[in-house]
């Protein structure tokens, strides 16, 4: 197991050992190195998270009292639109498949870079352009987009949403959409063509598998959104009537198109984090992933089903096939349950190390479980009719997306040493976890109750009802705790800056990224180990634990 290390992957295609390139800002502008591009994605996405979080805090303070006057009604519409847009389009997705995937996937499969490095760089610049475009709506005379992050017709037509803000929203989304499509192409090509010898498909880390499936979903879903946005723009400016009743169009067609992208998008956002916490839980439990192939087939099943569930967002329109979408939506609970079972199975009888990263992964499990279970309620049309457009829906998807924030933090604490060469402070990380965990539950739980009591979403003011007010106050307190956890993260970066050298493998990791240096060299590897299981680095570092086929460990023990 330990005998041969060969410099087989040429870290420079032309045989140079050192990379002599530009430095400083020119290096940033001209880089095609997937690690630097991924780092640029990471920094930009975290900045978007902070901006979107600030919008959320303003929204919560506005709602802390029934007649809040922190912002005007028009500003409130802009804030909730841009909070959703920034978080979904500019933070969670790009962070998952742009930032960490960019840095980690090529290294996990032993590749020197992404398959198309210049296309990869273009993806980042389009994403950055999209961020600037969308946010610049705030600096226009009419303000930013104000029709909700879903852009429903006819609210988003030129009559109801005139002005540049809406067009900037469409333009920004077009740019980030193309960025995502190019990243999807790149990830597929990288996984299909640049794996190291011996890295068969069923030896790839679960994170890489999930990113592959995510990339396929991106390629299926994002072109639909792009087409819808072009149609919306045509309705607004060229006099077409695709989404308007007046000229023979169908407003609900926008919802079909949007959600045909929008529900796979939920899994485009979630699957990378599923993969992330799978690898993290296995590493900190010092065990292989329990049910490795089951995890992969569960991921593929989720992806397959995700294309047939879009209209569960449209139950109350009255024009969708309720039984089909209800059954398909409920079916997704099966592979998701398999994943939950396997995560627990991976920890079962393992030597669990409760690092900050592992705690964040546990926070992901708990919060996602709540979000997932309430999603099952919403998949049932009678329950959905009762709760549609209430705070119950807001609470459900905030449980889901806050779980993804736990996943993101887990990934950052886990891979920061590999990316930078330095560990983040564990004590501050654990404090951050508790603020985030308690804050998330305190923030979301009152929203479930508010929804059941009938409070509609997207309202800046509400009736003077003590019960509603108290629940809103509690939720706002939770949002403050989440804000504090974000501040702690920023403080942690400052405190830990180049302070705690990590070494190459601080967590005794399993996968190939822990075999190379921290940070990895240009084109990633000086040498590679033999790859004989899905844990090549573990196999190399622990030759006493011979890599065996699945199910053979107990036989060997006898």
């Amino acid at each position: 197991m330990t005998d041969t290390l060969t410099p087989a992957v040429s870290h420079d295609a032309h045989g140079h050992d050192e990379h002599h390139g530009p430095s400083g800002i020119i290096k940033w502008l001209t880089t095609t190195d997937h690690k630097i591009i991924g780092l640029s994605y990471t920094v930009t996405a975290v900045m978007m998270f902070v901006i979107g979080g600030l919008f959320a805090e303003i929204i919560r303070f506005q709602l802390a009292s029934p007649n809040g006057n922190l912002v005007s009604l028009a500003q409130y519409n802009e804030l909730f639109t841009m909070h959703g847009s920034v978080m979904i389009y500019l933070f969670v997705g790009p962070f998952a498949f742009g930032a960490l995937a960019n840095i980690i996937v090529p290294i996990q499969i032993g590749a020197p870079d992404m398959a198309f490095p210049r296309l990869n760089a273009l993806s980042y610049w389009l994403y950055l352009g999209g961020c600037i475009t969308m946010l610049s709506g705030f600096f226009t005379a009419g303000g930013a987009a104000n029709f909700g992050w879903v852009g429903y017709a006819p609210l988003s037509n030129s009559l109801n949403a005139p002005g540049a803000g809406a067009d900037l929203w469409i333009g920004g989304l077009l740019l980030t959409g193309f960025s995502a499509i190019f990243t999807g192409v790149n990830l597929c090509a990288t996984v299909f063509y640049l794996r190291a010898p011996g890295m068969t498909m069923f030896r790839m880390p679960i994170f890489t598998w999930n990113l592959l499936v995510t990339a396929i979903l991106i390629l299926l879903a994002f072109p639909v959104l792009t087409a819808g946005l072009i149609m919306l723009y045509a309705d607004r400016h060229f006099g077409t009537h695709i989404f308007t009743n007046g000229g023979g169009g169908v407003p609900v067609l926008w919802q079909h198109i949007f959600w045909f992208w929008g529900h796979p998008e939920v899994y485009i956002l979630a699957l990378p984090f599923f993969g992330m916490v799978t690898d993290i839980i296995a590493t900190f439990s010092k065990k292989p992933v329990f049910g490795y192939k089951g995890m992969i087939f569960a991921t593929l099943s989720i992806a397959a089903l995700s294309l047939g569930v879009w209209a569960h967002h449209m139950f109350t329109t009255g024009v969708v096939l309720l039984p089909f979408f209800s059954i398909m939506s409920l079916l997704i609970a099966v592979p998701t349950g398999i994943k939950m079972f396997n995560w627990i199975g991976t920890m079962w009888r393992g030597q669990v190390w409760f690092s900050a990263s592992m705690l964040m992964a546990m926070g992901f499990l708990f919060t996602f479980l709540i979000g997932g279970l309430t999603g099952i309620y919403l998949a049932s049309p009678p329950l959905d009719f009762m709760t549609h457009d209430t705070y119950f829906v807001v609470a459900h998807f905030h449980s889901v997306v806050m779980a993804l924030v736990f996943g993101a933090m887990s990934g950052l604490y886990f891979w920061a040493p590999k990316i930078t060469g330095y560990l983040l402070n564990e004590r501050i990380g654990k404090a951050q976890f508790w603020f985030l965990f308690i804050g998330t539950q305190v923030f979301t739980f009152p929203l479930y109750l508010l929804g059941l009591y009938g409070m509609p979403r997207r309202m800046a003011l509400y009736p003077l009802d003590p019960q509603w007010q108290h629940l809103n106050e509690i939720s706002t307190f939770g949002a403050v705790l989440i804000g504090i956890s974000t501040v702690l993260f920023v403080v942690n970066i400052g405190v830990s800056w180049k302070k705690y050298p990590a070494g190459d493998n601080p967590w005794d990791g399993h996968t190939l990224e822990w075999f190379t240096t921290s940070p990895p060299p240009h084109h990633n590897f000086y040498r590679l180990p033999k790859i004989r299981s899905e844990r090549p680095t573990w196999d190399y570092n622990h030759p006493e634990h011979v890599a065996l086929a699945h199910g053979k460990h107990e036989e060997a023990a006898k």
Partner: protein
Amino acid sequence: MKIEAKVLLALGLFFGAMCAVYWNWSLENAGGMMMFAGMLLCFLPGSYYYWWSRRIGTRPEDDKNATQEESAGFVGTFPGSSIFPFVLGFGAFFVVLSMVFGIWLLVPGLGLAFWAFMGGISEGRRGGKH
């Protein structure tokens, strides 16, 4: 490469079956059409990979017992730096702004895009900077 092909073909088959059930049951065209397109989008690369997998045999990355030496040599061209992605991204930014602030912004937008296309192609022919 067989597994890559099978994953895509299996997804395509599932989307096809789902499309048939949905379209016949709901008679709703937008969703049926999108599912049908999803099926084709899986079959297109899936059948390409399947075709190649039957011809090129087992690659080192598909071989469970492969050694690193088997893929030694030329991996591909990985340009260490290039300004043209930034130029093209900047051009696309102007093109999008032209949708909002005026058609004249297409001039710098398409100009930058043209420069990036020409520069990127010639850089690709040269092999790029490493």
